[in-house]
């Protein structure tokens, strides 16, 4: 029970910081909306809905990247991470707290972006909505670990997209498949499998990444 309490406290801390500073979420919102407008001009007028569905996933992945790049910045600027690592709690709780907080930001950004997508381009099916949630979980789980890794490096903003994009390819495949394929459930299965495997892997390996 204390584990869950730690996680909740850490996630709440991130949300509170965001509520006061308002750094990340407005940026993500603005970014995803401008991306959708760019897509409108990038797609010739006679391309079908399928192309728009494909680009939606590009927008989602890049928005997540934007949020993740900021994820560990407050910790690093004030040396909080060292304190957290020394704190008498399981280190994986730090990862889980960060993942939940980032997930909350991403879902909040999409609560605006997806209706906008429906308005501008094409309606989304229920399968596609489930796929969005599954992709969000996967990308936040892997991304918050990789962002912690990249934050220790010299070129941290540069490094994160390089590390994350190859790992995000199965997620994009699953998302696009769920949105446009008539049998989208198979792709949901792939996404769920990805989430399960990589969440466990990130959860188990986070400790190695942050300890000296």
């Amino acid at each position: 029970m204390t584990y869950l309490a730690d996680v909740a406290a850490l996630a709440r801390k991130d949300l509170k910081v965001e509520l006061r500073a308002r750094d990340t979420l407005p940026a993500m919102l603005l970014f995803v909306l401008s991306t959708l407008v760019i897509f409108h001009f990038a797609l010739p007028s006679d391309t079908g809905d399928d192309a728009a569905y494909g680009l939606l996933w590009v927008a989602i992945v890049f928005t997540a990247l934007l949020g993740l790049a900021r994820a560990w910045v407050p910790e690093h600027e004030h040396g909080v991470l060292d304190g957290l690592v020394l704190a008498p709690c399981d280190r994986s709780a730090i990862w889980l707290g960060k993942t939940l907080a980032t997930l909350a930001f991403l879902l909040a950004a999409q609560a605006v972006a997806l209706p906008a997508f429906t308005l501008f381009f094409a309606p989304l099916s229920a399968t596609a909505l489930v796929a969005v949630v599954l992709v969000d979980i996967g990308i936040c789980a892997v991304g918050s670990l990789l962002a912690a890794m990249a934050a220790a490096g010299r070129a941290r903003e540069l490094l994160l997209p390089l590390l994350l994009l190859p790992l995000a390819i199965p997620l994009v495949v699953g998302g696009v498949g769920a949105a446009i394929s008539p049998e989208g459930e198979r792709y949901l299965l792939l996404l769920a499998l990805y989430d399960g495997i990589f969440a466990v892997l990130s959860w188990a390996s986070f400790e190695y990444v942050v300890t000296e």
Partner: protein, 209 residues
């Protein structure tokens, strides 16, 4: 060892009489399998590093992945040549194996970026080890994803008859495979020795200063 490699590389293709383009199969497939093997070895050493915490696994894991990336790029090149010869294009997205290799190639290039951007030390060793483990998990997951992706990117699935191998062809294939694996192993040892010498030298220099 060198003799075995030379023999297999020059003698084995003689056995093939399926046209020139088919001969690259003897080079391409063993190289690809060896690259997978190197990535697997790198991940295994990475796991050992995380488990036992011994510094030497870091170098071994790095060298194995380095070799894997070299063989991976060779696979991409030979694959492109083969595709040009038999399908008439340098690149085709319908070949699952090639796409998978491209994904892996990008992934392991990112691995090197990660390594070169972190400060040397146990933390870098562990971060790279974790990333190497991610890579080996990514292989089956992306393979599955690419398989699935095929039916919306290419509605008509590109079918290709699997090479029906005769005994001699199979023997040639096995010899090249063994030779390439041996080559990879030798390169792995050589690079490892070189890198260790380098590290020792640096330590000595520090000590003398």
């Amino acid at each position: 060892m060198g003799l075995a490699i030379v023999l297999s590389l020059f003698v084995a293709p003689e056995d093939a009489d399926q046209g020139v383009s088919q001969r690259i199969f003897y080079i391409h497939v063993p190289i690809a399998l060896t690259a997978y093997f190197c990535f697997g070895l790198g991940a295994w050493k990475a796991l050992l590093l995380l488990w036992r915490g011994s510094e030497r696994y870091d170098l071994e894991s790095y060298v194995a992945i380095h070799q894997g990336t070299i063989f991976g790029s060779l696979t991409l090149i030979t694959g492109a040549i083969w595709a040009k010869a038999s399908w008439g294009v340098w690149w085709t997205w319908s070949s699952n194996q090639l796409v998978l290799f491209l994904v892996l190639f990008l992934f392991y290039c990112a691995y090197f970026m990660l390594r070169f951007s972190l400060e040397e030390g146990p933390r870098r060793a562990r971060s790279s080890a974790v990333y190497a483990l991610f890579g080996v998990v990514l292989i089956p997951v992306s393979f599955l994803a690419i398989r699935l992706a095929e039916d919306f990117i290419h509605p008509t699935v590109f079918t290709r008859e699997g090479p029906q191998m005769t005994a001699t062809m199979f023997a040639a294939f096995c010899v090249t495979w063994a030779a390439v694996t041996l080559l990879a192993y030798v390169l792995y040892r050589v690079e490892l020795v070189g890198k260790r010498l380098d590290a020792d030298l640096r330590e000595l220099r520090e000590a003398l200063r």
